[in-house]
């Protein structure tokens, strides 16, 4: 696919190119208005692209009507036909395709059993709860699948309560991965947590463009730019410079014994980069080859550290910790699984507020009160370096998400 869709002068999608593998659970993630739904509509044939091809198994299907594409499309808010009961809703595609009524009847009953709606054949959509509607909509979409097993989900969990969302998300994943159905799923959402939980791969899109495609790991630990980093979780960012005339070249990462296996894996083959962000100490951060090559000595850079990648100690420990700040706990908030601290530190003689989240334990609770002096630091593997995108771009991204 390499698709452009314009609405008047507004480009909803520009040169989007994605390849989705067979039996993959593929998440399209992006903020509201990024073009996610437009993309789905193009795939389903509800709108035709201005440029580009849509290929199913190598065959061009641009000219096929939506009904001929044999895909299951579950709409945001479900779009259950309000004037038909749930059986008529579920069996709609069978009637349209004139399938055998008796076998249809059987499958519909199976679906009703699955959706816990046995015996409520005549219920109208408005009589159902959110979870029931979601299941009926899913059944209706699945009924339309024949040879192609492509299921498209447009914000399938958006309209549900938090608790229900969790259980239905699990159900959805179980179903998608079940060997009986063999589904390929394209699922659109603006919730990065949801994306991380279910995706095989994620495509992050923004303003009609693909920003990054990759596994949840890749997206989280190797964000391509500030937008991706910021979209996936709460971050702190620092502006700085790559230190001049450093001995950085060729210095391969020696894996510290403390970092866990998983970090070893992602940081294999990375290089150490010394940077100056405006405090006395030079910080050092590991980065991959590709980025290493693009950043020259003296370049302006942006250092991003996720809130949950900071560690915290009492008092002043600047001497024995790398990449450390000393500061004062301004505010502490208990969030259940973790504490969210706001720590004031000094950079370039200006105060900066760092957001730091630490898993909640009794120890943390006792040691770190509001007003305590602390040292906060982050491991060299977990700092993320970008070329400085310019002030305007930073402000734009910060206001976007």
């Amino acid at each position: 696919m390499n698709i452009t869709k314009k609405y008047g002068k507004f480009k909803a999608l520009s040169n989007i190119s994605l390849e989705i593998k067979d039996k993959e659970y593929f998440i399209v993630l992006g903020p509201t208005g990024a073009g996610k739904t437009s993309l789905l509509k193009v795939i389903a044939g509800l709108v035709s692209p201005d440029e580009g091809e849509i290929l199913f198994d190598g065959m061009r299907i641009n000219e096929k009507q939506p009904g001929e594409r044999n895909l299951g499309f579950m709409f945001e808010n479900y779009a259950l036909f309000p004037h038909m009961n749930i059986v008529d809703n579920i069996s709609y595609s069978s009637r349209v395709h004139a399938r055998n009524p008796e076998s249809t009847q059987k499958i519909v009953q199976q679906f009703l059993m699955m959706t816990l709606l046995m015996g409520r054949d005549d219920a109208l959509p408005k009589e159902l709860s959110g979870g029931m509607k979601q299941r009926v909509a899913l059944s209706r979409a699945l009924m339309n699948l024949e040879q192609t097993k492509l299921l498209i989900l447009d914000e399938p969990l958006k309209a549900l309560d938090a608790g229900l969302r969790n259980s239905l998300r699990r159900e959805l994943l179980n179903m998608a991965k079940s060997s009986i159905l063999d589904l390929t799923v394209i699922h659109v959402t603006n919730d990065q947590r949801e994306a991380m939980m279910v995706a095989d791969r994620i495509a992050l899109i923004n303003q009609g463009k693909v920003v990054q495609v990759g596994t949840p790991h890749e997206i989280y630990y190797h964000p391509r730019n500030l937008f991706v980093a910021y979209f996936m979780s709460e971050i702190n960012y620092f502006e700085g410079k790559c230190v001049k005339n450093s001995k950085r070249k060729g210095e391969l990462h020696k894996i510290s014994t403390k970092s866990d296996k998983f970090l070893k894996q992602i940081q294999e083959d990375s290089l150490l980069l010394p940077i100056d962000i405006g405090i006395d100490k030079i910080f050092t951060v590991y980065t991959d080859h590709q980025k290493f090559e693009t950043i020259d000595d003296g370049d302006n850079i942006l250092l991003v550290v996720r809130a949950n990648h900071f560690k915290i100690r009492e008092g002043n420990r600047l001497k024995d910790k790398k990449n450390a700040f000393i500061g004062l706990i301004k505010r502490r908030k208990f969030m259940g699984v973790f504490y969210r601290f706001e720590v004031l530190v000094k950079i370039n003689n200006k105060e900066k507020r760092l957001i730091i989240s630490i898993p909640a334990t009794t120890e943390i609770h006792q040691k770190f009160q509001e007003g305590s002096n602390v040292t906060v630091y982050f491991p060299e593997e977990l700092g993320i370096i970008f070329k400085h995108p310019g002030k305007d771009e930073i402000n734009r991204i910060m206001s976007l998400v």
Binding site: F75, H83, A98, R140
Partner: protein, 558 residues
């Protein structure tokens, strides 16, 4: 609740800051006592203007049974001829209304879908031009239709009345269909398409059932408009007599008993019809379960679609749009200057005064309907009076449902020399009649905006210490502005375009539509064309205003 309000009212007094005089006055008049007085005045206005005359016509019939039975059934000379005339006119009226409405629906279905679901150049223009005939006085439209079909040798009579009625009822039908189509999400249609349904199946099983409300609302409105229309019908009818024309005829010949009898029948039948349609259509369901996959797939193919869209657009053009505005091309007919300005009967002076009278009646009707319409809309949406509100809400539509000539006659009987003797036929009686039949057009849009508006905002203002009237002035009124403007323009255009009700009560005064009818009947076509063009331009301007104001928040009347 009341205690709360009072305590809220007392608190600010203890504060040092002085309330302005306006706020003080508003606080004073926010007392429940004054609210009750206002409610009382509003309800009495409603009863006097709408229910009174209608009840009165039935009591008049009962009191005058002997003279009615003499005039209608047992006249020495003509026997029961009038009764047969009445029956004949009723059957003519109903047939014409049915044919026009069915034709309208068939053409309006594809047109409304084209106007809401397609994207093309000139869509806005087509949309506006389809709406336009609604604002043009029917007598001008009827005259234009007459001039157009005259080219093809169709003379006044049955067929021409139907053509005329199709033209002026069409906008009501398209409009209501468009409103439901705009409200109902494209999502349902998209869902059906992804499930494999071809175009026709989507339309039949998804779109059409969702349009039901709009089709019914439009059909009721169009049917009642057709049933009650007088101005265009007089011009197009030739020797055929519809029921409203017969009433006008009786009234002109001062056959009051026969006129009241026919008005009574028309009012009864219209009201019964309104309710039975409302009850009956709720039960109608479209057959959505059966699907004929092969046939429907075949019929959904492009050539059929193009044919269908093309055909309906051509019919729209030939039967509705061109006849509506054909009159523009006729400006050169006759010697206008001589006929209108130089002739000794001073036609231009008549034109001038009737234009002023028409506009004055319209403006005053808007003004008075605003004063009583807003409180009534508030009563219907906000008071918890149970059944009474339901009844009020239902009766409100009655003036729309009954033929305006019949309503006009009822008001003539009630307020005129034969009844309370408040008015003589003339300007004030015209005004009174116009207030009466346009009242629902004012109240309905306001009700629908009130129902949509967020109640939380008003409650928030109250918790902040504002008195009821202050809340109304600062919060409610700005919120319902859309409805007020829409209602006002509807009232004004309906008043400007009315013929039947005016003829019955006008005495020596002439409004523009009546003047057009008179001039057409007197065969002074050039002046009639000029007068028609004048009102068409004026109405086009009004429609333009209406459309630029109400981009969203469309309202179903009836």
């Amino acid at each position: 609740m009341m205690q709360k309000e009072e305590s809220a009212a007392e608190k600010p007094k203890t504060k040092k800051t002085e309330l302005s005089l306006t706020l003080k006055t508003e606080r004073y008049f926010s007392k429940p006592k004054y609210r009750k007085i206002l409610d009382g005045i509003t309800i009495s206005f409603f009863v006097l203007v709408i229910i009174g005359p209608i009840i009165n016509i039935f009591s008049t019939i009962l009191l005058n049974i002997p003279s009615i039975s003499h005039d209608v059934f047992n006249d020495e000379l003509i026997g029961a001829l009038q009764w047969y005339n009445i029956l004949e006119s009723l059957s003519v009226s109903f047939t014409i209304a049915s044919v026009a409405v069915i034709f309208d629906i068939i053409i309006a279905l594809p047109i409304s879908i084209i106007l809401t679901r397609y994207n093309f150049r000139g869509k806005k223009f087509l949309d506006a031009i389809v709406d336009l005939p609604m604002a043009v006085p029917t007598s001008a439209l009827g005259f234009s239709v007459l001039l157009f079909w005259r080219l093809f040798g169709i003379n006044p009579g049955y067929t021409l009345i139907i053509f005329g009625h199709i033209v002026f009822t069409f906008p009501y039908i398209v409009r209501n269909m468009k409103i439901v189509l705009e409200k109902s999400s494209v999502l349902y249609e998209d869902a059906a398409r992804t499930l494999g349904a071809p175009g026709i199946t989507v339309f039949r099983t998804i779109t059409l059932p969702m349009m039901k409300e709009g089709i019914i609302a439009g059909a009721i409105l169009a049917f009642t408009r057709s049933l009650g229309e007088t101005g265009a019908t007089i011009i197009l009818s030739g020797l055929v007599e519809t029921a409203p024309i017969l009433i006008v005829g009786f009234r002109r010949q001062l056959e009051i008993p026969s006129a009241s009898f026919l008005a009574g029948i028309l009012i009864t039948v219209s009201i019964l019809l309104l309710f039975s349609i409302k009850i009956f259509t709720r039960k109608v369901k479209f057959p959505v379960k059966r699907i004929w996959p092969e046939t429907e797939k075949y019929l959904s193919k492009k050539p059929f679609r193009y044919f269908r869209d093309g055909f309906s657009l051509i019919v729209l053009l030939i039967v509705i749009l061109i006849p509506s505005f054909f009159i523009i091309t006729q400006i050169t007919e006759g010697n206008l200057a001589e006929e209108l300005f130089l002739a000794k009967d001073y036609k231009w002076a008549y034109l001038y005064t009737s234009f002023i009278d028409s506009i004055s009646v319209g403006v005053l009707a808007v003004f008075i309907n605003l004063i009583f319409g807003i409180p009534l809309a508030m009563i219907i949406t906000k008071r918890n009076w149970g059944k009474f509100i339901t009844i009020l809400d239902t009766i409100l539509d009655v003036p729309i449902a009954i033929p305006s000539a019949a309503l006009g006659f009822a008001i003539f009987l009630f307020w005129g020399p034969a009844g309370l003797n408040f008015f003589q036929p003339g300007f004030y009686m015209i005004l009174f009649v116009h207030i009466s039949f346009t009242f629902p057009y004012m109240v309905r849009p306001i009700i629908s905006v009130l129902e949509q508006s967020n109640e939380g905002v008003e409650e928030a203002a109250r918790t902040l210490g504002a008195s009821n009237i202050t809340v109304f002035r600062k919060i409610t009124l700005p919120n319902i502005k859309q409805g007020i403007i829409a209602g006002s323009i509807m009232v004004f255009t309906r008043s400007l375009g009315e013929t039947g009700a005016t003829i019955v009560v006008m005495g020596r005064v002439r409004t523009i539509p009546v003047l057009i009818v008179d001039w057409v009947e007197a065969n002074v076509f050039a002046s009639a064309i000029f007068a028609s063009l004048l009102v068409i331009l004026f109405s086009a301007f009004l429609i333009f205003l209406l459309r630029s104001i109400r981009k969203k928040g469309d309202v179903i009347v009836a």
